[in-house]
Symmetry: C2
Subunit: 557 residues, 2 copies
């Protein structure tokens, strides 16, 4: 039998990528990127710095262009490759990125009337125009539906589905009125490809619905009509026009239509999987399984774990979300994250610009790598962008402690890396305190692949080996794996993941001596973490500086 | 009557300066610096980074050379100037800078046997070889003579008299054995100039003895024999060979000898005042009086106040020293200080080197000057070199809190300036809490003269006008004032100070709006100060970051 392939379509912030993957062994035979054409780097901006929109025309054009380019590349790189060997498509996207649609499921912005109205376009995940609405939703839920917040970290974000829709109702009522419903980008694409845009055929993915729109089967799906009606009667009415039942990535949204088969150059009728959020598909592409924590490390991190649906699971407080079926169909998906990791290192290098020529990431990494754990006497909190897990508090800021008159930029750089490692350990500990055992950590993303010092410090701080995902395109690969499952290329996710994902040979093993020092430092980090981060903390910090000095002297001696 | 002049001889860390001052109005008619010739920049170093010695030959050669050069300069700048118009000499010096002397009061290092032995030279104030001995002395005093520590800030320093002598006994016993006694540099020079080196004629100054050698008339002068003998029987025996009674700067050590008159080119027999420590003489040169706080601001600060002997004075806890007669004969001298001020700004500019070309002191000062109080959301603790007042704790370190992903070097620079201002306010508050009212603040030193932003922030933080001493050489001027008093040029210090010191015209007045913001910030600074600095503090820091963010948003709005 000739090899079979699936395509993962990965909608990022500035471009869409099509990745063609062999279902047998996960070989990535071709990949093509297509940059969105509207706005600045694909993002439509305005005078309001909080606004970030995208034009849905880019999404459709991007699907066609990236798939065609990837197919051309595969034809070159694989002898005898034929597009007919592609047996399915999977989709992942940023989110929450909702867009208003008409009664046929067509994006409003694709109509002449709304083509240039930003409110009618897709509201990109990082659009923060609905800060006030998110606070309003959080307050209402805290009062009458606290269970909604328990599954999404205690605060409903301005980046999320209902905040954005409510803001549209207030700020651009003509768009709200014209919209029949709202859909996530990760659902819009599968519906377009399969002709299932109409409400009676449309499917929402449980991943975005659960993590961003308070969807949970235990309370009947989306927030109830009464709740939404208290925000506005029109929001209550919208409830009836949302998709009734969200589904997981183990099922197909439908089959590729003839027009789309022609546009993309693929075989008509191949299944398109239910979509998912990029980080969750990324966890699949990195080989997620119960017991594994997948860390996607970039400017911030997304930390994903899964837990069998059939086993008991507590509400782990401080996580961003706990949603059944959001990653693997038979598991809860648990999402945590750090608000800034690479962004903190970038801040130090680009905003502070320390040490002239010796202030590049490469030079600081090299110099920091020559230091030993505890040697600088420094301790930092990784909160320059607030704390997403476990404190879930945007009103937190960075701390650097332990400076002398001799503290160097490399020492600070290392302290910042260590702070993010302590933040990572705090997340792991939270999982385990609530019974979600973490037996391996798999890292992916640019920093994991490119900065061995960061990975070694993570290993030394956590006392756990740090593994690196083999694929550099875990999100697209995850989508391709979903495609392999729904198209019958694999029986289920477990076998697909087993066959199609892997690790890089290099594993970062913890150094016992460094880990001993970091245990002491982590205790001090935790003390500061609680002192500044927990409302009920009461205590003394008198020993913190003295212990850091003693530790420094011990390490230097 | 022709104008009269006095000379202030100021022994600094790297050089000695002679300043010729008119007694009528304090005009500084001539000044000459002479750099010490031995060692590196006048300091003899070794492989041990804690060691810092000076050769006494430099002190004597420097007196001659600097006075002669100043006289030559005065002859050029003052029509008809004659050396005979110089009616007295005053001396100030770094300290504690003790040196071993033989039974004639001659410095051991001036003998052939010890000429090259660093232990026989002067132990410069910043020699820290006696860390262990200072801890031993502190522990002993805490156990059996707690009153000794109450007058010197609770800890006996490795920079001080008995620590250094005890270390010499242990590390270089041949020097200790050869020494008849030990004298402070600020006493060695007046004794040399007046031929009063022999023990029966020798005078110690109360300033160095009281602040650095636990001398206090209430317990009979230096620490008692029994106390010193517990450190070592030989230290106990040394007690009998120390000067019996220390005197204040209002009396003369003696009269200039014929040989020294010839060497210096001055009239034989003019009085030489009892010496003093540089900062205390600097307070005189800046116009000290009850109610005034003199801040000498450089790499660190020395803060000096005085309080009438005849009025009741509590033991103000956390001061470096409280000594009757140490500044003015009829007052207690109260010494406080900040372990690092300019050194913190220098650390940021020279060690961190932020922002490339925009990272000079001048550029950062300019950019920081454009920011408003509270606008950065940052808060720092000024403890990069520990805290001298009021916590008296070397095992404290710096803190920077409130960083976001957008924090700039100028914001940090301003936060560091503000931190030192909060430290300054903490000292003022401590004085006033114990009844020492501060009705005016007079600043001197390089930073006070050269950085208007620092002075404005100090005014805004403290809510008090910041005045600047007219003289740029307050230490030498203070010594010249003491000379004017002992030579009869003025009746007493009050009239001499009134006539010979003054302020610069520019006074930095507090801005009311900024002061309001700084009151809030100081409350947060004090919270961090106590949380990390006080053993008994118990509390919560949860609101600190949130209040900083709220303040930032309010100021920016």
């Amino acid at each position: 039998m000739p090899p079979q392939y699936t395509i993962g379509l990965d909608y990022g912030t500035n471009s869409v990528r099509a990745l063609i993957v062999g279902t047998r062994d996960g070989e990535e035979v071709a990949s093509a990127d297509w940059s969105y054409k509207h706005g600045s780097d694909g993002i439509i901006l305005s005078r309001d710095p909080l606004l970030a929109r995208q034009h849905p025309a880019d999404y459709l054009m991007g699907a066609q262009a990236s798939i065609r380019a990837a197919l051309r590349q595969a034809a070159k790189s694989v002898r005898g490759f034929k597009p007919d060997q592609v047996i399915g498509i999977g989709v992942d996207a940023t989110g929450s990125t909702p867009l208003p649609v008409d009664e046929h499921g067509q994006a409003l912005a694709l109509s002449r009337r709304f083509a240039k109205n930003p409110a009618a376009m897709a509201w990109l995940w990082k659009d923060h125009t609905s800060v006030a609405e998110s606070a309003e939703i959080t307050a209402l839920a805290r009062r009458i539906r606290p269970q909604y917040l328990a599954k999404c970290g205690g605060t409903y974000s301005s980046e999320w589905f209902f905040s954005k829709i409510l803001h549209c109702l207030r700020a651009a009522p003509e768009v709200f009125e014209a919209a029949d419903s709202w859909v996530e980008l990760s659902d819009f694409i599968p519906a377009e490809l399969t002709g299932t845009q109409a409400r009676d055929k449309f499917s929402a993915n449980i991943c975005a619905a659960g993590h961003k729109a308070m969807y949970n089967s235990s309370w009947g799906g989306y927030p109830d009509r009464e709740f939404l009606a208290q925000l506005s009667p029109k929001m209550g009415a919208l409830r009836d026009r949302l998709c009734v039942k969200a589904r997981d990535a183990g099922t197909a949204a439908g089959k590729l239509t003839a027009p789309w088969a022609k546009r993309a150059g693929l075989r008509e009728g191949i299944p398109v999987a239910i979509g998912g959020l990029d980080a969750h598909m990324g966890a699949i592409g990195a080989g997620i399984a119960p017991g594994a924590l997948v860390k996607i490390i970039g400017t911030s991190t997304c930390d994903v774990a899964v837990w069998p649906l059939k086993q008991k699971l507590a509400d782990v407080p401080g996580l961003c979300g706990i949603v059944g079926g959001s990653v693997l169909p038979d598991c809860y998906g648990l999402e945590a994250g750090q608000s800034a990791v690479g962004d903190i290192f970038n801040w130090f290098v680009n905003c502070i610009q320390p040490g002239g020529e010796r202030g590049t990431h490469a030079a600081l990494t090299e110099a920091a790598g020559k230091l030993r754990a505890g040697e600088s006497g420094l301790l930092a909190l990784d909160w320059n962008n607030g704390n997403r897990t476990v404190l879930v508090d945007q009103k937190l800021t960075g701390v650097l402690l332990g400076q002398t008159l001799y503290t160097t930029p490399a020492e600070i750089y290392r302290a910042l890396i260590e702070a993010t490692a302590f933040g990572a350990l705090t997340i792991i500990n939270r999982f385990e305190e609530y019974g979600v055992r973490i037996s391996q950590v798999v890292n992916c993303g640019g920093i994991a692949e490119k900065n061995p010092l960061v990975m070694q410090i993570y290993a030394d701080v956590t006392g756990r080996p740090m593994k690196i995902s083999r694929s550099g395109q875990t999100c697209a690969l995850g989508a391709a794996i979903a495609a392999a499952v729904v198209s019958g290329g694999h029986e289920d996710f477990a076998s697909a993941i087993d066959a199609m994902t892997g690790l890089k040979p290099r594993v970062y093993k913890p150094n016992a001596a460094a880990h001993t020092v970091y245990r002491d430092l982590f205790a001090l980090y935790s003390m500061l973490h609680d002192a500044f981060g927990k409302a009920r903390w009461q205590g003394s910090l008198y020993t913190v500086m003295k212990q850091l000095i003693d530790l420094r002297n011990r390490v230097r001696a």
